[in-house]
């Protein structure tokens, strides 16, 4: 636009036509407005986060539907106000990097979509709001503070036999598991469950009636040990997925389990803690002390994941799909 104004100005100068000066001035003013308006639009912006939703991975265990998993798509709802300036959110700043985002605007609400990325803690600290309104000549942006922290959990799958069981017979039949001390997790309501065991907050959030599942603490609980070597960057994700899947199998079957996870400092037995611990563990973290010889040991080093129980050992390559890896270690668990 500035080039156009300059061209018209040049012709005005060389042809003595006063109108061309006026045209050049008005085009130049368009450039000024086109640069100024976006800058002011983003400067006066005070968006408010109204909430967020997730889509993507469907966890096998119903109680995990409210969790965020690796690769999920998050949608943030921002309230921009009634007389909203025309802006778009084009990037988000996390605790470590900046990630691109895309936004659509309906009325005074902007929906910002982003991918959750890999497992871990996703802390959104700021969002980049851009505007080129009203003329699209200039583009201005501003980083607006944002406070949102979610734990991105690893994806998991149920072992084949547990899936079959879950298909034929509802997970966690109430008759098989009585009231106990240890919290195993949440599951869908089944006929015969006591209404006192319904966990209303989760039920309200997920839209499905969920009940608290507990089990007697047992000395013969399955013990899992996860080890992630410092050089296990490539194999760590598969190892974590395998560990999560093995533990989920126990939860689905109502069998008590405990898992030592690097970085968690102790063995954890509750599914919620297991999944969170697996979300936050990283290669090179120190694992808690081992408990027994019968423990199923999942260790990652280099590009290989080794699953061992006693003398039995299976080695899986890091590039193997999770479902295939579960099938390969099926008889060892």
């Amino acid at each position: 636009m500035l080039a156009a104004a300059s061209t018209v100005y040049l012709f005005a100068t060389n042809s003595q036509v006063i109108w061309l000066y006026l045209v050049a001035a008005l085009i130049g003013a368009l450039a000024v407005v086109g640069l100024l308006a976006p800058a002011l639009a983003v400067r006066r912006l005070h968006p408010r986060l109204r909430g967020w939703t997730r889509t993507g991975f469907t966890p096998p265990l119903a109680q995990d539907r409210a969790r965020v998993f690796a690769g999920d798509r998050l949608a943030l709802a921002l309230d921009l106000g009634e007389d909203r300036p025309p802006v778009h959110v084009t990037a988000l700043r996390t605790n470590s990097v900046e990630i691109p985002a895309d936004s659509g605007i309906t009325g005074s609400t902007a929906t910002v979509e982003l991918l959750a990325g890999g497992r871990g803690e996703l802390a959104l600290t700021a969002m980049r709001m851009e505007s080129s309104w009203p003329l699209g000549i200039g583009r201005a942006h501003r980083w607006v503070p944002l406070q949102l922290a979610v734990v991105v959990h690893p994806r998991y799958a149920l072992p084949i036999d547990d899936r079959r069981q879950g298909t034929r017979e509802p997970v966690g039949a109430s008759s098989a598991r009585g009231p106990g001390d240890e919290f195993l997790g949440l599951r869908e309501y089944q006929s015969g469950d006591s209404q006192r065991r319904i966990h209303w907050p989760t039920s309200a959030r997920t839209g499905t009636l969920m009940v608290i599942e507990t089990a007697q603490e047992s000395s013969n609980a399955t013990s899992y040990e996860l080890e992630l070597a410092a050089d296990a960057e490539e194999a760590a994700e598969l190892a974590v997925g395998l560990a999560a899947s093995l533990a989920a199998g126990n939860v689905a079957a109502g069998v008590p389990m405990a898992m030592s996870i690097p970085g968690s400092g102790r063995q954890v037995a509750r599914w919620n803690e297991v999944l969170t611990g697996l979300a936050l563990t990283r290669p090179g973290m120190a694992a808690p002390a081992r408990r027994g010889r019968d423990a199923v040991r999942v260790s990652a080093a280099g590009r290989q994941v080794t699953v061992a129980r006693g003398a039995e050992t299976r080695v899986v390559d890091a590039g193997t799909a999770l479902v295939d890896a579960l099938a390969m270690i099926g008889d060892i668990r």
């Binding site: 018209v8 003595q16 008005l26 890999g118």
Partner: protein, 666 residues
């Protein structure tokens, strides 16, 4: 992600934006029709433009066909043929062929406006037409046209964004007001420099041949005493003087006032002035570097553009001394003395431009002029033998004690303007009386010719070479447009006096006129010196013009190629996933399926597409997933080559022959 999809081939969906473009075209055509003429052409073209816009809107999603492009190209070629033939040969009358070509081309191109870029080009095309109209706009009535066109440009740019981003009306009103205010301030604040007329080819209207037509036109000046005649035989009879009307003879765009000079008269007979044969040389239509001998260095230039309103004779009116001339005719002759002769009379509609020298005519500089070579300028000192001696005596008395030539000239000029009265009602000159003697000693009243004659004769009697000059005074200046309107009653006569080392310097003894009618120095700027190199065409004259045009064309081509390469490199710099997604979007457009708009995320677009064509949406899904992985997670997840898969799947599920309105999914 908005930046990915607003490419050159994406159809513009904003109907309001298209209407704004159409309105801009309408404003420009109307403005040109009102000011420059060619109303019928403008109105017909405008009607075609309306139809073209409607066709473009309805077919915006349809792919371009080779046949359609060939037809459009052929029509543009026809328009070009009209331009060239009318510009050079005047086949269709030669009246503003450039303007008519612009509106015709606008009409043709209006049938192929698909993308925003097409529309943007259309707006600038209308700006060219507005420019042509502005060239002929001499009063503030053109202001609404300019504001309306600019408002259309604003509306186009705004609507095409508003339909994507949305905003409240009050916010738009605020910025619209700010735009007008800033534009006004810029208009007042930006310097209005004077440069050389690089736009000459656009100004040239009626090309003229090498020979004069049969029509008989009045002399360059409507002075009753003017005697039209063959070359070198024109004269002015001082015995008679008629009434001059108020009709506009011509208009001049010039950054400074000047006397618009016609020709000079050297021989004084006592009752008339006449021309003397002078050496002459032919000059091309575009002539630069014109200069006369014995002239000092110039201190600036004065560009002028003339617009003839009424027929005048073949003397090219221009401020003296001319240095560059851009004239729409061959066969020009530059006569020694600075007069430029056209081979044919100047008709209404003729435009031409000139650049004249601005010399240092300060008294200090003129006082330093060298001695006069009386032998060399004998004919400019010649006086009739019958001239009464008291004329020379009076001149001697007036100049007594004046040491320099300039002081003597100034003293006589001041004496005449102070002691004699200006009036068009002068007594009739007796049959045998000398006109100057009668004016000086009997009548004491006269008009410009008497004053100029008296000044010239008195100077010659003192040994100072001088000659009579006829032309027009500055005329009425429009303070807003900065142009001069010259009427018939502005016809004027004055004197040029030779100052060795400086040249011929104009002096005007008529009361009420400027003391020193020399050229004034306008505002000057750097690019003024570069603009002669930008001459767009040569009408058969200066070889430098063709060279400059070729260089300019080459520069434009190189620039355009650089822009294309830059844009292509930007596209290629994007990731393979992005490019694949863009290609998929283009495919959707070709299939008349909804493409993603800037305000829609790829996921949202996928969902919307699923409602229209679920099978295609399913095929596009992996591509969107790949795109998001590549964009958000920084890596692809096994779908790096999704485009061929998508195209194959989509084509299989959506045969082209089944694509109709709405493109329902099978």
């Amino acid at each position: 992600m908005r930046r990915w999809t607003r490419g050159a081939r994406i159809p513009e969906e904003s109907l309001r934006g298209r209407i704004a473009v159409l309105a801009a075209a309408g404003v420009a055509c109307t403005a040109m029709g009102v000011t420059a003429g060619g109303t019928i052409t403008a109105l017909v073209s405008l009607a075609i433009v309306v139809i073209g816009h409607r066709v473009s809107w309805r077919g915006r999603l349809r792919p371009r066909t080779a046949t359609g492009q060939a037809i459009l190209g052929g029509l543009i070629a026809l328009c070009l043929a009209y331009l060239v033939s009318d510009l050079t040969l005047g086949v269709f009358g030669g009246s503003l062929p450039q303007a008519k070509f612009s509106v015709l081309a606008l009409a043709v191109t209006s049938f192929d406006l698909k993308s925003r870029r097409n529309l943007f080009t259309h707006v600038w095309h209308s700006a060219v037409i507005l420019y042509v109209g502005a060239l002929f706009a001499w009063n503030p009535y053109f202001l609404p046209f300019v504001l309306a066109w600019a408002a259309c440009l604003f509306a186009f740019m705004y609507f095409t964004r508003q339909d994507q981003d949305g905003a409240s009306h009050s916010r738009v009103a605020r910025w619209g007001t700010a735009w007008l205010a800033i534009g006004g301030l810029l208009f007042v604040g930006i310097p209005h420099f004077a440069g050389r007329p690089i736009a000459v080819p656009l100004l040239v209207s009626i090309p003229m041949g090498d020979s004069a037509g049969p029509e008989v036109l009045p002399a360059v000046l409507p002075l009753v005493g003017g005697q039209p005649g063959p070359f070198n035989e024109q004269s002015i009879n001082l015995r008679i003087r008629g009434r001059l009307g108020d009709e506009v003879m011509f208009r001049v765009r010039s950054p400074a006032a000047a006397y618009w000079r016609g020709y000079t008269l050297q021989a004084y007979s006592g009752q008339a002035w006449s021309r003397l044969p002078r050496p002459a040389r032919s000059i091309p239509p575009i002539s630069v570097g014109l200069s006369e001998r014995d002239e000092g260095p110039l201190i600036g230039t004065l560009p002028q553009s003339f617009f003839i309103e009424r027929p005048v004779a073949s003397d090219v009116l221009v401020a003296y001394p001319v240095r560059e001339l851009y004239f729409p005719a061959r066969g020009l002759v530059l006569v020694e003395g600075g007069t430029v002769k056209s081979p044919v009379p100047l008709r209404r509609g003729i435009n031409y431009s000139a650049v004249s020298a601005v010399r240092d005519l300060s008294p200090q500089h003129l006082r330093q002029a060298g001695p006069i070579d009386t032998d060399l300028h004998a004919q400019d000192l010649r006086l009739p033998a019958e001239l009464p001696a008291r004329v020379a005596t009076l001149a001697g008395n007036v100049t007594a004690g004046r040491p320099t030539e300039y002081d003597r000239v100034e003293s006589i000029t001041n004496y005449l303007s102070a002691h004699y009265r200006y009036s068009l009602d002068t007594p009739r000159l007796p049959a045998n009386a000398d006109a100057v003697d009668q004016f000086l000693f009997n009548d004491h009243v006269g008009f410009c010719e008497q004053f100029a004659s008296a000044l010239a004769v008195m100077l010659r009697s003192q040994g100072i070479p001088s000659r009579l000059v006829v032309g027009y005074s500055t005329g009425d200046r429009d303070s807003f447009t900065g142009s001069f309107t010259v009427r018939a009653h502005d016809a004027h006569a004055w004197v040029e006096v030779l100052f060795p080392g400086v040249g011929w310097v104009p002096f005007d003894a008529s009361p009420g006129f400027v003391d020193l009618p020399g050229n004034h120095l306008p505002a000057h700027w750097l690019l003024s010196d570069l603009s002669p190199q930008l001459a767009l065409t040569s009408l058969g004259g200066a070889p430098g013009g063709a060279l400059g045009a070729g260089a300019g064309l080459l520069a434009v081509v190189v620039l355009a190629a650089a822009v294309l390469v830059w844009r292509h490199s930007r596209l290629m710099a994007r990731s393979a996933e992005v490019r694949a997604y863009l290609w998929a979007q283009r495919w959707l457009l070709w299939m008349r399926l909804p493409a993603r708009t800037p305000a829609t995320t790829p996921a949202a677009h996928l969902a919307a597409l699923g409602a229209v064509a679920p099978a295609v949406a399913r095929a596009l899904g992996p591509l969107v997933f790949t795109l998001e992985q590549a964009s958000f997670a920084g890596h692809a997840m096994g779908h790096g080559s999704s485009l061929p898969v998508f195209l194959a799947a989509a084509r299989h599920r959506l045969p082209r022959h089944r694509l109709g309105a709405g493109a329902a999914d099978p």
